[in-house]
Subunit: 272 residues, 2 copies
Amino acid sequence: MGLDKGKSDGTVGKALEILDLVASFERPVRFSDVLEIAEFPKATVYRFIQTLTSQGMLSYDPDRQTYALGIRLVRLAHSAWQQSSLAPVAHPHIEKLARDVGETVHLAQMDHAQVLYVDKIDPGKPIEMFSQAGKVGPAYCTGVGKAMMAYLDAPHLAEVIGQQSFHVFTEFTLADEAALRAELIDIRSNGYGFDREEHEPDIICVALPILTAQGRVLGALSVTSSTQRTNLAALEALVPRIQLAATAIANEAESWRFPDQSKFQSVKTAKG
Amino acid sequence: MGLDKGKSDGTVGKALEILDLVASFERPVRFSDVLEIAEFPKATVYRFIQTLTSQGMLSYDPDRQTYALGIRLVRLAHSAWQQSSLAPVAHPHIEKLARDVGETVHLAQMDHAQVLYVDKIDPGKPIEMFSQAGKVGPAYCTGVGKAMMAYLDAPHLAEVIGQQSFHVFTEFTLADEAALRAELIDIRSNGYGFDREEHEPDIICVALPILTAQGRVLGALSVTSSTQRTNLAALEALVPRIQLAATAIANEAESWRFPDQSKFQSVKTAKG
DNA sequence: AAACCAAGTTTCAAATAATGGAACTTAACT
DNA sequence: AGTTAAGTTCCATTATTTGAAACTTGGTTT
């Protein structure tokens, strides 16, 4: 009958599951490490690892006899980042915003029920790269996560909430669905939300959703600081400026056509 | 009988082939775009795209009815970058080198027969991110490509050379295998090589390989500039400084053990 | 030195999943 | 209403994946 958790899409799904397992160790792994936590028999795991390695999705270090995620992923991610209508379009706006307000700005999207940071600019430390973009975080206790959830439609929201862990990180963490839902209604009525040290002590932020004209959630922007440097009221004062950036990004992302995409939707868009 | 080109590893290989096809368009694509260039029948391409989308390797834009590479790739690439012993270890060295010499520094690795840039620092424009890391380039006409090829073992080198296109970009491009092999011998005897406007007019660089103690190629470093700003002799004068960085990176990358990796090779390394 | 052990690799018949031609459903345009 | 192109589903056939078990390899113990 049903799919248990939308899990395995045949062989490809299983192979990608192995890829995730390798990623879940934050270091290169041995075959036996993967085998231990995989739910497939030895020969199967072995064959998948072979295939993934031969495909460049994993790399093998012959000296240490370990596997790590392969560089083909870096190449693909580069394309993914470029193809995404959000991140490349948003980048200059975020850069400007970070300079204007002198604080760290994050750009995030939903990835399943988690928050995925696709860009980050810290006016202090200029260069961060992959070490920052690609990071994931919890949705229920981050500014960007709550800002995005506040604008999801009911069924989608229910699904996302169902997958939250509600781990209590600090004394301010919203620890259950009821508290979260109340907060989301609040955010929706304001148009912006805060992270009140809910994820890390002393770290606060203000976040706004990036929405299409139809109200579909594209992502979220946040300005982050610490209680030592500022306070929520000061962050709230930045809302108009962030809103301006969010709106600009949404407009550009929506209207953006890729270089030679004129053959698509040409008649329809030329009409208006 | 044989595998034609080391190509398809069963179903997983085919699915990844579809992923590459989507990446090869540098914009979101329709189902029919992929179908057109794919060598599988309609229903097969359709099912693969469905699977990859449900797995988050592709994303679907319902408004435009287009597919793009998914954000799961960005998450995986983040892990790949972190797990790689080279890029994170090299980053601070490259940063310092770029500041020292005031020119753009690239860090590259071999990806099949191509050069993959895994890091880039331009002292002028601080922030680039994914837009730079993940880029690929030809091996036979770039400084880093030739520096790495010069230190490959014979069989591996033959394989890589066999896959070069030898497209003539400029009047200085090495246009055939003989010219390339002569150049590689030269590079190997010097320990470093140049790009003499072979790929782009006016762009020159000096490149050094990053080698393990056993002489295995880990990657390459290059310092790039233009004929308007400098010349080959001036770049050559930077070699000792670049060499220092390359050696330091190689040492760190080789000796680096990931945080809690003590359980591996502990006895063996403790012995020495 | 022989026996042992753990990690990694290969085998092969049975079970399962992928295949793809063709039919079907939409949606857009005439 | 009629036509065409794009996208989706069906299902018997075919090819691939599966996984227990046997085997190999390299290192350690008695």
